[in-house]
Subunit: 137 residues, 3 copies
Protein backbone atom coordinates (compact mmCIF):
# COMPACT_ATOMS: atom_id res chain seq x y z
CA UNK A 1 0.00 0.00 0.00
CA UNK A 2 1.29 3.43 -0.89
CA UNK A 3 0.26 7.08 -1.07
CA UNK A 4 0.63 9.45 -3.99
CA UNK A 5 -0.43 13.09 -3.96
CA UNK A 6 -0.42 15.88 -6.48
CA UNK A 7 -2.20 19.22 -6.84
CA UNK A 8 -4.21 20.23 -9.87
CA UNK A 9 -4.14 23.97 -10.61
CA UNK A 10 -6.91 25.41 -12.75
CA UNK A 11 -7.87 28.90 -13.88
CA UNK A 12 -11.60 29.51 -13.66
CA UNK A 13 -13.68 31.96 -15.70
CA UNK A 14 -15.66 33.28 -12.73
CA UNK A 15 -19.19 32.89 -11.37
CA UNK A 16 -20.84 29.54 -12.12
CA UNK A 17 -18.01 28.20 -14.28
CA UNK A 18 -18.21 24.39 -14.29
CA UNK A 19 -14.78 22.87 -14.96
CA UNK A 20 -14.67 19.16 -15.81
CA UNK A 21 -11.56 17.93 -13.98
CA UNK A 22 -12.04 14.21 -14.68
CA UNK A 23 -9.09 14.06 -17.11
CA UNK A 24 -6.86 15.98 -14.69
CA UNK A 25 -7.61 13.40 -12.01
CA UNK A 26 -6.93 10.54 -14.46
CA UNK A 27 -3.52 12.12 -15.23
CA UNK A 28 -2.59 12.06 -11.53
CA UNK A 29 -3.67 8.41 -11.31
CA UNK A 30 -1.39 7.50 -14.23
CA UNK A 31 1.55 9.26 -12.61
CA UNK A 32 0.90 7.45 -9.32
CA UNK A 33 1.32 3.92 -10.79
CA UNK A 34 -1.24 2.85 -8.16
CA UNK A 35 -3.81 0.45 -9.62
CA UNK A 36 -6.29 -0.33 -6.83
CA UNK A 37 -7.49 1.75 -3.93
CA UNK A 38 -9.26 5.05 -3.35
CA UNK A 39 -8.90 8.49 -4.89
CA UNK A 40 -9.52 11.50 -2.63
CA UNK A 41 -10.20 14.90 -4.20
CA UNK A 42 -10.09 18.02 -2.04
CA UNK A 43 -10.79 21.62 -2.99
CA UNK A 44 -8.78 24.07 -0.85
CA UNK A 45 -11.41 26.80 -1.17
CA UNK A 46 -14.57 27.98 0.60
CA UNK A 47 -16.15 29.63 -2.45
CA UNK A 48 -16.05 26.76 -4.96
CA UNK A 49 -17.43 23.23 -4.87
CA UNK A 50 -16.74 19.72 -6.12
CA UNK A 51 -19.57 17.54 -7.45
CA UNK A 52 -20.16 14.38 -9.42
CA UNK A 53 -22.53 15.08 -12.30
CA UNK A 54 -23.26 14.48 -15.93
CA UNK A 55 -21.36 16.52 -18.52
CA UNK A 56 -24.55 18.28 -19.65
CA UNK A 57 -24.81 22.05 -19.56
CA UNK A 58 -28.60 21.99 -19.13
CA UNK A 59 -28.19 20.25 -15.77
CA UNK A 60 -25.44 22.67 -14.80
CA UNK A 61 -27.68 25.66 -15.56
CA UNK A 62 -30.55 24.05 -13.62
CA UNK A 63 -28.20 23.63 -10.65
CA UNK A 64 -27.14 27.28 -10.91
CA UNK A 65 -30.81 28.34 -10.97
CA UNK A 66 -31.68 26.12 -8.00
CA UNK A 67 -28.82 27.54 -5.94
CA UNK A 68 -29.83 31.09 -6.96
CA UNK A 69 -33.30 30.44 -5.48
CA UNK A 70 -31.79 29.27 -2.18
CA UNK A 71 -28.96 31.82 -2.01
CA UNK A 72 -29.96 34.74 -4.25
CA UNK A 73 -27.23 37.11 -5.38
CA UNK A 74 -29.58 39.98 -4.50
CA UNK A 75 -30.28 38.57 -1.02
CA UNK A 76 -29.19 40.15 2.24
CA UNK A 77 -26.05 38.75 3.82
CA UNK A 78 -24.04 39.78 6.85
CA UNK A 79 -20.87 38.63 5.09
CA UNK A 80 -21.29 41.30 2.40
CA UNK A 81 -18.00 43.18 2.65
CA UNK A 82 -16.58 41.26 -0.30
CA UNK A 83 -19.89 41.54 -2.16
CA UNK A 84 -22.96 39.34 -2.27
CA UNK A 85 -21.34 37.00 -4.77
CA UNK A 86 -18.72 36.12 -2.20
CA UNK A 87 -21.27 35.57 0.59
CA UNK A 88 -23.45 33.41 -1.66
CA UNK A 89 -20.38 31.46 -2.82
CA UNK A 90 -19.54 30.46 0.76
CA UNK A 91 -23.09 29.18 1.30
CA UNK A 92 -23.35 27.30 -2.01
CA UNK A 93 -20.08 25.53 -1.21
CA UNK A 94 -21.49 24.15 2.04
CA UNK A 95 -24.74 23.08 0.34
CA UNK A 96 -22.71 21.05 -2.16
CA UNK A 97 -19.30 19.66 -1.12
CA UNK A 98 -15.59 20.37 -1.13
CA UNK A 99 -14.32 16.80 -1.01
CA UNK A 100 -15.07 13.65 -3.01
CA UNK A 101 -13.88 10.06 -2.74
CA UNK A 102 -13.91 7.71 -5.74
CA UNK A 103 -12.83 4.05 -6.02
CA UNK A 104 -9.84 3.08 -8.20
CA UNK A 105 -9.75 -0.32 -9.86
CA UNK A 106 -7.29 -1.68 -12.43
CA UNK A 107 -5.89 1.81 -12.82
CA UNK A 108 -9.29 3.32 -13.62
CA UNK A 109 -11.74 5.50 -11.71
CA UNK A 110 -14.89 3.52 -10.86
CA UNK A 111 -17.55 5.91 -12.19
CA UNK A 112 -21.08 5.41 -13.39
CA UNK A 113 -21.71 5.78 -17.12
CA UNK A 114 -22.69 9.43 -16.75
CA UNK A 115 -20.56 10.49 -13.80
CA UNK A 116 -17.89 13.12 -14.32
CA UNK A 117 -16.04 15.21 -11.74
CA UNK A 118 -16.76 18.94 -11.77
CA UNK A 119 -15.20 21.86 -9.96
CA UNK A 120 -17.67 24.77 -9.74
CA UNK A 121 -16.38 28.30 -9.35
CA UNK A 122 -18.89 30.39 -7.37
CA UNK A 123 -16.83 33.58 -7.10
CA UNK A 124 -14.46 35.41 -9.44
CA UNK A 125 -12.00 34.21 -12.08
CA UNK A 126 -9.27 32.65 -9.96
CA UNK A 127 -6.41 30.21 -9.94
CA UNK A 128 -7.71 27.32 -7.84
CA UNK A 129 -5.97 24.32 -6.27
CA UNK A 130 -7.44 20.84 -5.99
CA UNK A 131 -5.44 18.20 -4.11
CA UNK A 132 -5.66 14.62 -5.41
CA UNK A 133 -4.50 11.83 -3.08
CA UNK A 134 -4.37 8.20 -4.11
CA UNK A 135 -4.10 5.47 -1.48
CA UNK A 136 -3.69 1.91 -2.68
CA UNK A 137 -1.44 -0.66 -4.24
CA UNK B 1 -3.22 -3.21 5.06
CA UNK B 2 -5.44 -4.52 2.32
CA UNK B 3 -8.28 -3.53 0.02
CA UNK B 4 -11.57 -5.34 -0.55
CA UNK B 5 -14.28 -4.19 -2.93
CA UNK B 6 -17.69 -5.47 -3.87
CA UNK B 7 -20.77 -3.99 -5.53
CA UNK B 8 -24.23 -4.03 -4.02
CA UNK B 9 -27.04 -4.23 -6.58
CA UNK B 10 -30.50 -3.12 -5.50
CA UNK B 11 -33.83 -2.74 -7.26
CA UNK B 12 -35.62 0.45 -6.30
CA UNK B 13 -39.36 1.16 -6.34
CA UNK B 14 -39.05 4.58 -7.98
CA UNK B 15 -39.35 8.19 -6.89
CA UNK B 16 -38.43 8.85 -3.25
CA UNK B 17 -37.82 5.21 -2.34
CA UNK B 18 -35.51 5.08 0.69
CA UNK B 19 -33.58 1.80 0.77
CA UNK B 20 -31.76 0.95 4.00
CA UNK B 21 -28.48 -0.60 2.78
CA UNK B 22 -26.79 -0.90 6.19
CA UNK B 23 -27.09 -4.70 6.27
CA UNK B 24 -25.81 -4.96 2.68
CA UNK B 25 -22.70 -3.00 3.69
CA UNK B 26 -22.22 -5.18 6.80
CA UNK B 27 -22.34 -8.27 4.54
CA UNK B 28 -19.49 -6.89 2.43
CA UNK B 29 -17.47 -6.15 5.58
CA UNK B 30 -17.88 -9.76 6.74
CA UNK B 31 -16.72 -11.10 3.38
CA UNK B 32 -13.68 -8.81 3.47
CA UNK B 33 -12.23 -10.23 6.72
CA UNK B 34 -10.89 -6.71 7.33
CA UNK B 35 -11.40 -5.63 10.95
CA UNK B 36 -10.09 -2.07 11.22
CA UNK B 37 -9.99 0.73 8.72
CA UNK B 38 -12.42 2.74 6.62
CA UNK B 39 -15.47 1.80 4.56
CA UNK B 40 -16.14 3.83 1.40
CA UNK B 41 -19.59 3.73 -0.18
CA UNK B 42 -20.11 5.11 -3.68
CA UNK B 43 -23.28 5.39 -5.72
CA UNK B 44 -22.60 5.17 -9.46
CA UNK B 45 -25.62 7.32 -10.33
CA UNK B 46 -26.48 11.00 -10.78
CA UNK B 47 -30.18 10.63 -9.94
CA UNK B 48 -29.99 8.90 -6.55
CA UNK B 49 -28.27 9.82 -3.30
CA UNK B 50 -26.59 8.28 -0.26
CA UNK B 51 -27.26 9.66 3.23
CA UNK B 52 -26.79 8.77 6.88
CA UNK B 53 -30.10 9.08 8.70
CA UNK B 54 -32.42 7.53 11.22
CA UNK B 55 -34.62 4.63 10.11
CA UNK B 56 -37.79 6.69 10.62
CA UNK B 57 -40.23 7.23 7.76
CA UNK B 58 -41.45 10.55 9.18
CA UNK B 59 -37.97 12.03 8.71
CA UNK B 60 -37.75 10.53 5.24
CA UNK B 61 -41.04 12.13 4.22
CA UNK B 62 -39.94 15.46 5.72
CA UNK B 63 -36.76 15.24 3.64
CA UNK B 64 -38.80 14.49 0.52
CA UNK B 65 -41.02 17.52 1.24
CA UNK B 66 -38.02 19.78 1.88
CA UNK B 67 -36.39 18.75 -1.39
CA UNK B 68 -39.71 19.25 -3.22
CA UNK B 69 -39.75 22.87 -2.00
CA UNK B 70 -36.23 23.47 -3.32
CA UNK B 71 -36.56 21.45 -6.53
CA UNK B 72 -40.28 21.18 -7.30
CA UNK B 73 -41.41 18.49 -9.71
CA UNK B 74 -43.60 21.11 -11.38
CA UNK B 75 -40.72 23.59 -11.68
CA UNK B 76 -39.12 24.70 -14.93
CA UNK B 77 -35.91 22.97 -15.93
CA UNK B 78 -33.74 23.17 -19.02
CA UNK B 79 -32.87 19.50 -18.58
CA UNK B 80 -36.49 18.47 -19.16
CA UNK B 81 -36.16 16.07 -22.10
CA UNK B 82 -36.30 13.06 -19.77
CA UNK B 83 -39.04 14.71 -17.73
CA UNK B 84 -39.01 16.97 -14.69
CA UNK B 85 -38.50 14.05 -12.34
CA UNK B 86 -35.18 13.35 -14.00
CA UNK B 87 -34.05 16.98 -13.86
CA UNK B 88 -35.06 17.29 -10.21
CA UNK B 89 -33.33 13.99 -9.41
CA UNK B 90 -30.01 15.31 -10.72
CA UNK B 91 -30.31 18.41 -8.54
CA UNK B 92 -31.39 16.57 -5.37
CA UNK B 93 -28.41 14.24 -5.75
CA UNK B 94 -25.98 17.17 -5.66
CA UNK B 95 -27.77 18.75 -2.67
CA UNK B 96 -27.29 15.50 -0.75
CA UNK B 97 -24.31 13.24 -1.58
CA UNK B 98 -23.24 10.28 -3.66
CA UNK B 99 -20.38 9.06 -1.48
CA UNK B 100 -20.03 8.29 2.21
CA UNK B 101 -17.09 7.21 4.37
CA UNK B 102 -17.58 5.32 7.64
CA UNK B 103 -15.02 4.03 10.15
CA UNK B 104 -14.61 0.28 10.72
CA UNK B 105 -13.50 -1.01 14.14
CA UNK B 106 -13.31 -4.60 15.39
CA UNK B 107 -15.21 -5.71 12.32
CA UNK B 108 -18.09 -3.29 12.94
CA UNK B 109 -19.22 -0.05 11.35
CA UNK B 110 -18.72 2.86 13.75
CA UNK B 111 -22.18 4.43 13.66
CA UNK B 112 -24.12 6.57 16.09
CA UNK B 113 -27.07 4.93 17.86
CA UNK B 114 -29.53 6.20 15.27
CA UNK B 115 -27.39 6.26 12.16
CA UNK B 116 -28.28 4.00 9.26
CA UNK B 117 -27.14 4.13 5.65
CA UNK B 118 -29.82 4.97 3.07
CA UNK B 119 -29.83 4.96 -0.69
CA UNK B 120 -32.54 7.30 -2.03
CA UNK B 121 -33.97 6.74 -5.48
CA UNK B 122 -35.03 10.07 -7.01
CA UNK B 123 -36.01 8.78 -10.45
CA UNK B 124 -37.74 5.65 -11.73
CA UNK B 125 -37.70 2.03 -10.54
CA UNK B 126 -34.20 0.93 -11.47
CA UNK B 127 -31.46 -1.55 -10.78
CA UNK B 128 -28.80 0.50 -9.03
CA UNK B 129 -25.17 -0.22 -8.18
CA UNK B 130 -23.39 0.88 -5.04
CA UNK B 131 -19.65 0.15 -4.73
CA UNK B 132 -18.34 -0.67 -1.25
CA UNK B 133 -14.58 -0.48 -0.72
CA UNK B 134 -12.89 -1.45 2.54
CA UNK B 135 -9.34 -0.33 3.24
CA UNK B 136 -7.71 -1.62 6.41
CA UNK B 137 -6.19 -4.55 8.23
CA UNK C 1 0.81 2.12 6.44
CA UNK C 2 -1.09 2.23 9.69
CA UNK C 3 -4.40 3.28 11.22
CA UNK C 4 -4.96 5.49 14.25
CA UNK C 5 -8.38 6.39 15.64
CA UNK C 6 -9.59 8.54 18.48
CA UNK C 7 -12.88 10.17 19.41
CA UNK C 8 -13.29 13.85 20.15
CA UNK C 9 -15.99 14.65 22.71
CA UNK C 10 -17.41 18.15 22.76
CA UNK C 11 -20.19 19.87 24.68
CA UNK C 12 -22.31 22.11 22.49
CA UNK C 13 -24.32 25.18 23.53
CA UNK C 14 -27.43 24.23 21.55
CA UNK C 15 -29.12 25.35 18.36
CA UNK C 16 -26.77 26.75 15.69
CA UNK C 17 -23.62 26.53 17.82
CA UNK C 18 -20.60 26.41 15.50
CA UNK C 19 -17.68 24.64 17.19
CA UNK C 20 -14.28 24.97 15.53
CA UNK C 21 -12.75 21.50 15.98
CA UNK C 22 -9.62 22.08 13.84
CA UNK C 23 -7.29 22.08 16.86
CA UNK C 24 -8.94 18.95 18.26
CA UNK C 25 -8.25 17.16 14.98
CA UNK C 26 -4.64 18.41 14.96
CA UNK C 27 -4.21 16.98 18.49
CA UNK C 28 -5.29 13.54 17.28
CA UNK C 29 -2.86 13.77 14.34
CA UNK C 30 0.02 14.53 16.74
CA UNK C 31 -0.86 11.54 18.90
CA UNK C 32 -1.01 9.29 15.83
CA UNK C 33 2.63 9.89 14.77
CA UNK C 34 1.36 9.41 11.19
CA UNK C 35 2.84 12.00 8.83
CA UNK C 36 1.31 11.34 5.40
CA UNK C 37 -2.07 10.01 4.41
CA UNK C 38 -5.72 10.91 4.89
CA UNK C 39 -7.74 12.13 7.86
CA UNK C 40 -11.37 10.99 8.11
CA UNK C 41 -13.77 12.87 10.37
CA UNK C 42 -17.16 11.36 11.23
CA UNK C 43 -19.97 12.78 13.30
CA UNK C 44 -22.01 10.05 15.00
CA UNK C 45 -25.18 12.15 15.01
CA UNK C 46 -28.18 12.86 12.75
CA UNK C 47 -28.90 16.32 14.16
CA UNK C 48 -25.50 18.00 13.77
CA UNK C 49 -23.24 18.55 10.77
CA UNK C 50 -19.58 18.84 9.79
CA UNK C 51 -18.43 21.49 7.33
CA UNK C 52 -15.28 23.17 6.05
CA UNK C 53 -15.65 26.92 6.30
CA UNK C 54 -13.95 30.16 7.23
CA UNK C 55 -13.77 31.11 10.91
CA UNK C 56 -16.03 34.11 10.38
CA UNK C 57 -19.26 34.48 12.35
CA UNK C 58 -20.94 36.54 9.61
CA UNK C 59 -20.73 33.55 7.25
CA UNK C 60 -21.98 31.25 10.00
CA UNK C 61 -25.02 33.45 10.61
CA UNK C 62 -25.68 33.66 6.86
CA UNK C 63 -25.61 29.86 6.73
CA UNK C 64 -28.02 29.65 9.67
CA UNK C 65 -30.37 32.09 7.89
CA UNK C 66 -30.14 30.19 4.60
CA UNK C 67 -30.97 26.89 6.30
CA UNK C 68 -33.85 28.57 8.18
CA UNK C 69 -35.35 29.57 4.82
CA UNK C 70 -35.15 25.98 3.54
CA UNK C 71 -36.13 24.25 6.78
CA UNK C 72 -38.00 26.82 8.90
CA UNK C 73 -38.33 26.14 12.62
CA UNK C 74 -41.99 27.15 12.30
CA UNK C 75 -42.56 24.81 9.36
CA UNK C 76 -44.75 21.72 9.40
CA UNK C 77 -42.98 18.40 9.89
CA UNK C 78 -44.23 14.87 10.34
CA UNK C 79 -41.28 14.14 12.62
CA UNK C 80 -42.50 16.69 15.17
CA UNK C 81 -42.78 14.55 18.30
CA UNK C 82 -39.42 15.77 19.56
CA UNK C 83 -40.24 19.32 18.44
CA UNK C 84 -39.66 21.19 15.20
CA UNK C 85 -36.06 21.94 16.12
CA UNK C 86 -35.34 18.23 16.09
CA UNK C 87 -37.09 17.65 12.76
CA UNK C 88 -35.30 20.60 11.17
CA UNK C 89 -31.98 19.42 12.61
CA UNK C 90 -32.29 16.07 10.85
CA UNK C 91 -32.95 17.80 7.53
CA UNK C 92 -30.16 20.38 7.87
CA UNK C 93 -27.71 17.57 8.60
CA UNK C 94 -28.50 15.86 5.30
CA UNK C 95 -28.27 19.15 3.38
CA UNK C 96 -24.75 19.65 4.75
CA UNK C 97 -22.65 16.59 5.67
CA UNK C 98 -21.70 14.30 8.52
CA UNK C 99 -18.31 13.15 7.24
CA UNK C 100 -15.25 14.94 5.88
CA UNK C 101 -11.94 13.73 4.45
CA UNK C 102 -8.80 15.89 4.53
CA UNK C 103 -5.28 15.16 3.25
CA UNK C 104 -2.37 14.89 5.71
CA UNK C 105 1.14 15.87 4.59
CA UNK C 106 4.31 16.20 6.67
CA UNK C 107 2.22 15.87 9.81
CA UNK C 108 -0.09 18.74 8.83
CA UNK C 109 -3.65 18.97 7.55
CA UNK C 110 -3.70 20.16 3.94
CA UNK C 111 -6.19 23.03 4.20
CA UNK C 112 -6.73 26.17 2.17
CA UNK C 113 -5.76 29.47 3.80
CA UNK C 114 -9.28 30.07 5.09
CA UNK C 115 -10.47 26.52 5.66
CA UNK C 116 -11.30 25.42 9.18
CA UNK C 117 -13.32 22.41 10.37
CA UNK C 118 -16.62 23.16 12.07
CA UNK C 119 -19.10 20.99 13.91
CA UNK C 120 -22.57 22.58 13.87
CA UNK C 121 -25.07 21.71 16.56
CA UNK C 122 -28.62 21.93 15.17
CA UNK C 123 -30.46 20.64 18.23
CA UNK C 124 -30.03 21.07 21.98
CA UNK C 125 -26.94 21.46 24.19
CA UNK C 126 -25.42 17.99 24.04
CA UNK C 127 -22.27 16.01 24.49
CA UNK C 128 -21.33 15.00 20.97
CA UNK C 129 -18.82 12.48 19.61
CA UNK C 130 -16.72 12.92 16.49
CA UNK C 131 -14.52 10.04 15.36
CA UNK C 132 -11.16 10.92 13.78
CA UNK C 133 -9.39 8.18 11.81
CA UNK C 134 -5.95 8.64 10.28
CA UNK C 135 -4.72 6.23 7.62
CA UNK C 136 -1.15 6.65 6.41
CA UNK C 137 2.52 6.25 7.16
Amino acid sequence: MGIFRKSIKINTNGLNNFVNITENVIDVIKQSKIKNGMVFINSLHNTAALIMQEDDSTIHRDLVNTLEKIVPLKGEYEHNYEGNENAAAHLKTNLLASNLTIPLENGKLVLGTWQQIFFIEFFEPREREIVVTIVGE
